[in-house]
Amino acid sequence: MQRNWKSDWIMYSPIILIEAMINGLLTGSIYALIALGLTLVYGVLHIINFAHGATLAVAMFAVWGLNIAAGIDPYLSILLLAPVFFALGYGVQRFIIGPAAGGDDGNILLITLGLSIFIENALLASFGSDTRAITSDLSFSVVELGPFLISTPRLIGFAGSLIVTVILWFVMTRTDAGKAIRAVAKEKLGASLMGINVAHVYALTFGIGCAALAVAAGLLMPSFYVNPRVGGAFVNIAFTIVVLGGMGSIPGAMIGGLLIGIVESLSGLLLGESLGQIGIFIIFILVLLLKPTGLFGAKA
């Protein structure tokens, strides 16, 4: 969306404003996917996973690599990468982070910090700091929805996020594994006494978060680029979403993601692309000042 009218916002026609909001909402749904793993891990393990952004970068490189090397369509690669990243997240938490933390959840935080530094440097060493992208006909195509022009990759991204949301909702509310995750989040001791394996639940949580990142990566790549540091920008946005939605709240991450997407798009339109992030930053400060628990957050 390259529009260069820099005049007063009143000048914008409602169509352009609404179009910006729709496109922002669609992008926001992918932000929500990225925020999902962050808020889930926070809700269950009560730590911030510092390796989240680096994991997203790995997933995006994987999507790019599969496309370059094997010509696999980014959307199709999700079907492969989501299970692989689930297994990866599960395994890393269960067999590396968990044992290394030795039962102290505080250590997990430090280990994820170390992991993020390691991953970023491994990516830099293997791919350099160049930015890479997948170009396809789809990247710049638009769909006409009535008077609105909607970017096709964003529309597909929204549909993908919606599918993930429904699957996640089903898992969390209808399966024993999901119920066990929610139980451990609020009452670890009680869960242990029901024979719930807390280490397994922690690993499941990590796995789900990583799988969501893989989906996000597949949905992003057709319209975005990747470099070893790309995760940082996304995680800053995701963290704002987590705070806005309420730390640990899944519906909060979903709604928060959509809101932040709209805010980013509107402030990009009104203030110019370079200042677009300011809107997000202002939201972040406002939430902390006015409602530190976020939209859906429980009391601290």
Binding site: D176, K179, A180, R182, A183, A185, K186, E187, L189, G190, A191, S192, L193, M194, G195, I196, N197, A298
Partner: protein, 232 residues
């Protein structure tokens, strides 16, 4: 059913229990009594595999317990912990379902019926969030959740804590009823008089050791009881 020999455990090098011997037989209610901070909850944690033993052994249903919470639940040693520890963010139904997460899953529907017939109040509000229940209702839910795992032995840690006198009475009636249906119960309580009324045998813990044990009748009659109970 449960045979605890010379059990020792504690926290980070500080030994709280220094050689506990306790048995619970089939069909019994066994009361474990003692003053605040004497280590009753610590004993329960050790039995449920939440705390490693530093000595001694636990034999349950003829087999040694390997000291993990999963093994304890799988064997049918089910604990309703002090403070209930229900899942506040989940509905009554979900709490009960998770009671059969590890054990009793095949009979989940049947056992739900059993719990609801024991606690009709819970049936009326299966969708209510557990965290919004009153203290008494939460205790019922915690016991119901334990029943969902088809216990071979039920350990109750201070089930009467925080209940009004009327509810305390009801709670002890319930324990008696569950036991009458054949469930062995280890009742950990501070409520000495009422516990001894329903228990077949009792142990009194003091300073990390069992200082008195015997049938409830004998213990109730013992002039030492008052001293032991008020000893700390």
């Amino acid at each position: 059913m449960l045979d605890v020999k010379n059990l020792r455990t504690g926290y980070g090098g500080v030994e709280v229990l220094r050689g506990i011997d306790i048995t619970v037989g089939k069909g019994e209610i066994v009361a474990v009594l003692g003053a605040n901070g004497v280590g009753k909850t610590t004993l329960n944690k050790a039995l449920s595999g939440l705390l490693k033993l530093t000595g001694g052994s636990i034999t349950f249903d003829g087999k040694p317990l390997d000291g993990s919470p999963i093994a304890a639940v799988e064997a049918g040693l089910i604990q309703v912990p002090e403070g209930r520890k229900i899942f506040p963010n989940m509905s009554i139904l979900e709490n009960l379902e998770l009671g059969s997460y590890r054990r009793g899953r095949a009979n989940r529907a049947r056992n739900l019926e059993l719990v609801f017939s024991t606690f009709p109040k819970l049936r009326q509000r299966i969708e209510q969030m557990a965290g919004t229940l009153s203290g008494g209702e939460q205790q019922m839910l915690a016991i119901g959740r334990g029943m969902m795992a088809e216990p071979k032995l039920l350990i109750l840690d201070e089930p009467s804590l925080g209940l009004s006198p009327l509810l305390v009475e009801e709670m002890f009636d319930l324990v008696k009823r569950l036991n009458a249906e054949g469930l062995p119960i280890m009742l950990v309580e501070q409520n000495v008089v009422q516990s001894l009324e329903i228990a077949s045998r009792a142990y009194i813990i003091e300073n990390g050791l069992v200082t008195m044990s015997g049938t409830a009748a004998v213990i109730s009659a013992d002039p030492e009881l008052k001293r032991a109970y008020l000893g700390l």
